[in-house]
């Protein structure tokens, strides 16, 4: 029953979409006043239909309606209610429905909140957004229908991959999608503004809200996925440079660049074309992110179920969107106001341009690293993977000047400034911090070529942003975000340099000595969980000062039959102590891994701080 409701409401949404696009192309010359309220009611109905469809899928998951194929493949009666609901978007079909829902929610909000702007611009934005919505509706209905029926009705479902039964991963896709799909509005509205010749300060301050909100969601979404990988996958790292992770990072670089460019557009009314190119690129990257993850082209440890025909559809649709965007850009390029002003080398504009250059560099590094293996496989059939060293080697050296400019840039004035103001005070600061980090590293015995100046510039940024908090100016959000980033860089660095690790194969009762510490495997218990059995190991790590107790688990899920291990993490503000154990074979040996990760919590906190900076800028009235 719920499947029928779901599918028919999607068809109604499809009809509305076609009707709206039709209306724009042929009836645009009519009275716009009248059109406005009619479009509003149509969008509202479409919005309602997709919500109904989405909730009927959630309902099917809650009541475990196994006549629905998606539910059958991804759910099970014994699963806790929370994961039944989150299972709705834990699979391909459901997650696309979520994409669609977010697309429409954003269109709806956009339509309500843009009444002050010109009608033609609003209608064109709706048109572009409807084209995207139509594409996704067709994609859902014809290649990945979440409501396909199964007959005879199975008694029991296949269950959700236990590794996905986790609170962080339950909210990770919706948050990430809010970020991804937010860029669709930026895409549609920048094209609409280009056609109507509206690219100016007013448009910039209007679209800035959308850029900021997408940026916040994207940042938090990436962080949630990273936190999950940290404690669930059991290897103790938070970023693996895996293709699926990279794919979410690429739109983030682009969006960050756009966020800064939009500020220039808003304040100085320049960089018009660049802002549009960035808007189009950001959305293309978000779309191709979905494409690459869902098509199974990427050779990733995260790869879930996939089907090539789906990939081809998204790829064609993506190319269609990109080419039409480029086409529109070339035709309407003349609409961009030629702003004749003299650029000065030392100005805030330049410093933001530098930020953009770095962002584009990081983006191209990640893009090449992600795409190259696919490319090479097509060309000469050799299978390769590009590992973390590639990214570290290319990104690390460039972070030094990046951090330096990030610290100096915000204090430079718009239009023109003098260079002398920068160099004396700040250069001394810079040198002092390089020396400080030199001392620090000597003491800890880790000397790397780039790490040293990197830590130096990290501290430089940290202290300069702290200093800026005492200055009287209104850019609190910018300061917070930059401060958060400096914290982030430093904690990632120290986390990488000072991490300690020990692994061994142990039996119950065994003791090992390492790095002046003793690790004891004391006991093993079996406990029955909700839909799994768990083996709880009791470990002790003893050093001169204190004793740490760990209780990591190995969970054996019945449906599907899978073993997962849950690390036990003891978090303090200085470091995380991470212990995980694994079953190898039934001969009593367990593979035990202990890690000490300094400043782990600060990585999450600093990302939260950056996002908070974004939130401040969003709620500020004239931000």
């Amino acid at each position: 029953m719920s499947s029928q409701i779901g599918i028919y409401s999607l068809y109604i949404a499809l009809i509305i979409s076609v009707f709206l696009i039709f209306q724009f192309t042929f009836l645009n010359k009519g009275t716009t006043k009248n059109l406005d309220s009619r479009i509003f009611s149509l969008i509202s109905v479409q919005f309602l239909m997709v919500i109904i469809s989405f909730f009927s899928l959630i309902y099917a998951f809650i009541i475990s309606d196994f006549s629905n194929e998606t539910v059958y493949n991804n759910s099970h009666t014994t699963k806790p209610l929370f994961y039944k609901i989150s299972g709705t978007w834990g699979n391909h079909e459901g997650s696309l429905l979520l994409w669609l829902l977010v697309l429409i929610i954003f269109l709806f909000i956009f339509f309500i909140h843009s009444k002050k702007l010109s009608n033609k611009y609003r209608l064109l934005t709706v048109l572009f957004q409807e084209i995207i919505i139509l594409g996704f509706l067709l994609f859902i209905l014809f290649t990945s229908n979440p409501f396909s029926n199964l007959f005879p009705i199975p008694k029991e479902g296949n269950g959700l991959n236990p590794i996905l039964q986790d609170p962080a991963l339950a909210i990770h896709p919706p948050v990430l999608y809010l970020g991804y799909v937010g860029t669709s509005i930026i895409f549609s509205s920048s094209l609409a503004a280009l056609i109507t010749g509206l690219i100016n300060k007013v448009w910039a301050s209007h679209i800035k809200k959308w850029v900021v909100i997408s940026w916040i969601f994207l940042s938090i979404g990436i962080m949630l996925g990273s936190i999950w990988a940290y404690y669930e996958l059991g290897w103790g790292g938070f970023w693996f440079w895996d293709p699926v992770e990279n794919v979410s990072l690429m739109p983030w670089f682009c969006l960050t660049a756009l966020l800064h460019t939009i500020i220039v557009l808003e304040k100085r009314n320049t960089f018009h074309s660049w802002a549009i190119i960035l808007s189009v690129t950001t959305f293309s990257l978000s779309m191709s992110g979905t494409f690459l993850v869902r098509s199974g082209i990427l050779n990733s440890i995260h790869t879930f179920a996939n089907d090539p025909s789906r990939g081809i559809f998204i790829l064609c649709f993506l190319f269609f969107l990109i080419f039409s965007a480029i086409f529109i850009f070339f035709i309407y390029q003349k609409n961009i106001s030629k702003n004749l002003y003299k650029p000065y080398l030392v100005s805030k504009e330049t410093s933001i341009l530098i930020n953009n250059l770095f962002m584009m560099f990081f983006l191209s590094v990640v893009l090449v690293g992600t795409i190259y293996p696919i490319f090479l496989e097509v060309i000469n059939d050799s299978k390769i993977s590009v590992g973390p060293p590639f990214y570290q080697k290319l990104i690390t050296p460039f972070l030094i000047p990046f951090l330096f400019f990030m610290a100096v840039g915000p204090n430079i004035k718009w239009i023109k400034d003098r260079i002398s103001k920068i160099n004396i005070q700040q250069l001394i600061f810079f040198i002092i911090f390089i020396l400080l980090s030199c001392l620090f590293l000597k003491k800890n015995g880790a000397l790397y070529l780039f790490v040293l100046p990197l830590i130096g510039s990290g501290f430089f940024l940290l202290f300069l942003t702290i200093k800026d908090f005492f200055l009287k100016s209104s850019h609190l959000s910018q300061k917070l975000a930059h401060f958060g980033f400096s914290l982030f860089m430093l904690s990632v660095l120290f986390n990488g340099i000072l991490a300690k690790e020990y692994s061994s194969n142990m039996k119950v009762g065994d003791e090992r000595i390492f790095m002046n510490k003793i690790i004891k495997f004391e006991n093993l218990k079996v406990v029955q969980g909700h839909n799994y059995q768990s083996l709880i190991g009791e470990f002790k790590i003893i050093d001169q000062k204190n004793v740490l107790n760990f209780k990591p688990q190995i969970r054996v899920y019945d449906q599907p039959k899978t073993i997962t291990s849950e690390a036990d993490i003891l978090t303090t503000i200085y470091s995380d102590n991470f212990l995980v154990f694994n079953v190898l074979k039934n001969d009593g040996y367990y593979n035990v891994r202990y890690q000490n990760k300094p400043f782990m919590i600060w990585i999450w906190l600093s990302v939260a701080l950056m996002s908070f900076g974004g939130i401040l800028s969003f709620i500020k009235k004239n931000g």
């Binding site: 996958l233 050799s382 390769i384 692994s503 061994s504 593979n591 035990v592």
Partner: protein
């Protein structure tokens, strides 16, 4: 001859061009150095010369081949045609089991012996890396 503006613009275009070339050069240079090739045990058997470069080997963990002592894990990777003994020190992922797919990263010692530095995790019990699937397909 040319105006100041034209000169400035030409300078900028050149600058952008050179930085693009430099970026491309940097990226592809380090790509060359940091790429990890994927091989099956059969491909390793047929290698003409052994390089001391990091590679990945994929296949199935042979039944009853896992041997464990206090520090090491030894097992055999097979593609049902050829076998490779793998020696590993460190921690293994959840789904490392006999009869299941595995990818090991490390260095070839000789044609039968591989020293792994990392065993890669997979998220899904039914999931097989595409490379393993393909190399199994080739041999069958």
């Amino acid at each position: 001859m040319y105006g100041k503006k034209v000169k400035l613009r030409a300078f900028f275009i050149l600058l952008i061009f050179f930085s693009l070339v430099l970026t491309a050069f940097l990226i592809f240079k380090s790509l060359e150095e940091n790429v990890v090739y994927f091989k099956s045990p059969t491909e390793i058997k047929n290698l003409s010369e052994l390089e001391n470069k990091k590679i990945r080997v994929g296949g199935m963990v042979k039944k009853n081949s896992i041997e464990i002592n206090e520090t090491e894990v030894n097992f055999i990777i097979t593609d049902f045609k050829n076998e490779l003994i793998v020696n590993f020190t460190g921690s293994v992922p959840n789904l490392f089991e006999e009869g299941k797919g595995v990818v090991a990263e490390g260095f070839i010692q000789d044609r039968n012996y591989f020293k792994a530095t990392k065993i890669l995790a997979k998220h899904d019990e039914n999931y097989m890396p595409p490379e393993v699937k393909e190399s199994l397909k080739d041999t069958n």
